[in-house]
């Protein structure tokens, strides 16, 4: 699509946030964040708890509506926009159909099976008839190695298996971008590997990804753009080398603290 640069400029980004501000009451959580994600790019965001990483990620798919700032997706404005600009607004619900999201607490629907978790949005959002939706859902459960668990309910699965179902639930919608919010933080240490392996493979297939994680190994391996956030602002960003030789003292201090 926008692979070919038009009149010599950069290819159009998939996601572009500009000057995002968000407050909860008097708590100024995002203080003017910019983020540009190109097709196939893997962005890794890290930083201390409470620095606004989850809020930023939720802004990308408008689960959180920013107070001001621009939320672009494939050249279309979905956010309130930067002051003075009046751009055509896309519908948040349509934006979310193009963006997958994986949560720290998995957030699988506990009252339906793994298969139904994956098939639900196909049926209700894409209006695909049940047999076809179930076939597709089963194929995606197979991709994450859980074909034998399709009749299981979330409570009957391990944390790692639940998170893989959650990944399948997002992927089945064939999103253009996948957001991961600390996908391994709630897992027992021995289950982290299976989830990271799936994410690594997904990155290899060329999926565009924005990942909040403290797994520095993952960042060093797949992070094209690595962002350190603190107190609602981007402190430093860089390539894979950032984990070894960060420039900012705050970044260095944080990286030392989590080792």
């Amino acid at each position: 699509m926008s692979e070919t640069p038009t009149n010599g400029s950069e290819p159009q980004p998939v996601v572009r946030l500009r000057d995002i501000h968000k407050s909860f009451g008097s708590n100024h959580v995002l203080k003017g964040i910019d983020l540009t994600v190109h097709k196939g790019e893997h962005v890794v965001i890290f930083g201390p708890s409470g620095s606004g990483k989850s809020t930023l990620l939720r802004t990308v798919n408008l689960l959180e509506i920013p107070d001001s700032g621009s939320v672009w997706f494939e050249g279309k404005e979905y956010g309130p926009g930067v002051d003075g600009e009046h751009l055509p607004k896309g519908k948040a619900r349509l934006l979310r159909q193009e963006i997958g999201m994986v949560f720290q607490q998995f957030n699988l629907f506990p009252h339906i099976t793994a298969l139904d978790n994956v098939a639900l949005a196909l049926r209700r959002v894409k209006r695909i008839p049940r047999p076809e939706a179930e076939t597709r859902a089963a194929a995606y459960l197979d991709r994450v190695g859980l074909l034998d668990k399709l009749a299981a309910y979330p409570a009957q699965l391990s944390g790692g298996q639940q998170q893989r179902v959650a990944i399948a639930r997002s992927l089945v919608m064939e999103p253009k971008v996948m957001l991961f919010d600390e996908p391994t933080s709630a897992l027992d240490p021995e289950l982290v590997g299976e989830v990271l392996a799936v994410m690594r493979r997904l990155a290899e297939t060329g999926m565009t990804m924005v990942v909040v994680t403290h797994e520095m190994g993952f960042g060093e391996e797949v992070g094209d753009q690595n962002i350190f956030m603190d107190d609602g602002a981007v402190v430093e960003q860089g390539g894979r080398g950032i984990y070894k030789d960060a420039q900012e003292p705050r970044t260095r201090e944080f990286l030392r603290s989590i080792l």
Binding site: R96, Q97, F103, F109, L120, V125, D148, A152, A197
Partner: protein, 266 residues
């Protein structure tokens, strides 16, 4: 006169001999309780939803509704609705209708609070997950929040239904010939107070116990079983298991067409 004599000997067969009177009464009790409870459930859901709405007018109005109806003794409220309002203002409603109305209004307040707490007990992450795959707010409510809230509120709702059966006896005061009223009349006519009220007690016990087991059954139906790994007996579960096995075979057969997309090893 004969009242003194009647009290002397206990005659259990008196209850059986007058069974048609108890049955007439209990039939009306059941109808009043079921109708009032169904109406209160529907109204309670509306009350809960409006109470949670972001509207600055509806929310407080519903909060007041809930507090007012819960604060009035039911017996007083039954008298107020029938004699105080219906008769005084010459509304043409029967005593039964007035009784059902009083029960419905008060129970909708209690049920509204139960439903609200059940809906709010569903984790916020559930709504976020549903919205993140593009579901609308109504879809999220119907497909994700409601089914989970239903499981949460079933036990307290069952208790409310049992309460409704017991509380429906209070409409005797406006002359509705339900179980308690017909019992009173029978006792006053025959002076066999012990037998009559023993019969009444037994009938209420049977009713409430039946409702108790009905709700236990509903709660059991909520159990989640993997039809592929557990022994299932129902024909529905067997058919579902067979369908899922065919689905697995289908996916396995199609695996070779696109091996590159696999994200996990076995």
């Amino acid at each position: 006169m004969s009242g003194v004599l009647a009290q002397a000997t206990f005659r259990p067969e008196f209850i059986w001999d007058n069974r048609h009177i108890f049955l007439d009464g209990v039939w009306l009790t059941v109808r009043i309780a079921v109708v009032a409870f169904a109406l209160a459930t529907a109204l309670g859901l509306v009350v809960a939803l409006l109470r949670m709405s972001r509207s600055r007018i509806l929310g407080p109005i519903m909060a007041a509704y809930i507090n007012v109806f819960r604060a009035i003794p039911l017996l007083v409220f039954v008298l107020f609705v029938y004699y105080g309002v219906a008769i005084h203002f010459s509304f043409s409603i029967s005593a039964i209708q007035a009784g059902v109305l009083a029960l419905t209004l008060q129970y909708s307040a209690w049920l509204g609070e139960i439903f609200r707490s059940g809906i709010q007990a569903v984790a916020d992450g559930q709504r976020q997950a549903a919205m993140s795959v593009g579901m609308s707010r109504p879809q999220t409510f119907v497909r994700v929040v409601m089914p989970q809230a239903t499981r949460i509120v079933t036990p307290p709702t069952g208790n409310m239904f049992i309460g409704m059966i017991k509380d429906s006896s209070l409409v005797y005061i406006i002359g509705v010939p339900e179980l308690l009223r017909v019992s009173n009349l029978l006792a006053n006519r025959t002076f066999r107070y012990f037998e009559v009220y023993l019969g009444t007690v037994i009938v209420y016990l049977i009713l409430t116990t039946a409702v108790y087991f009905m709700f236990k059954y509903i709660e059991r139906r909520f159990q989640l079983v993997d039809v592929l790994t557990s022994k299932v007996r129902s024909p529905f579960a067997k058919r579902r298991a067979a369908r899922l096995r065919r689905l697995q075979d289908e996916v396995l057969a199609a695996r070779d067409t696109e091996p590159s997309v696999r994200l996990a090893t076995e």
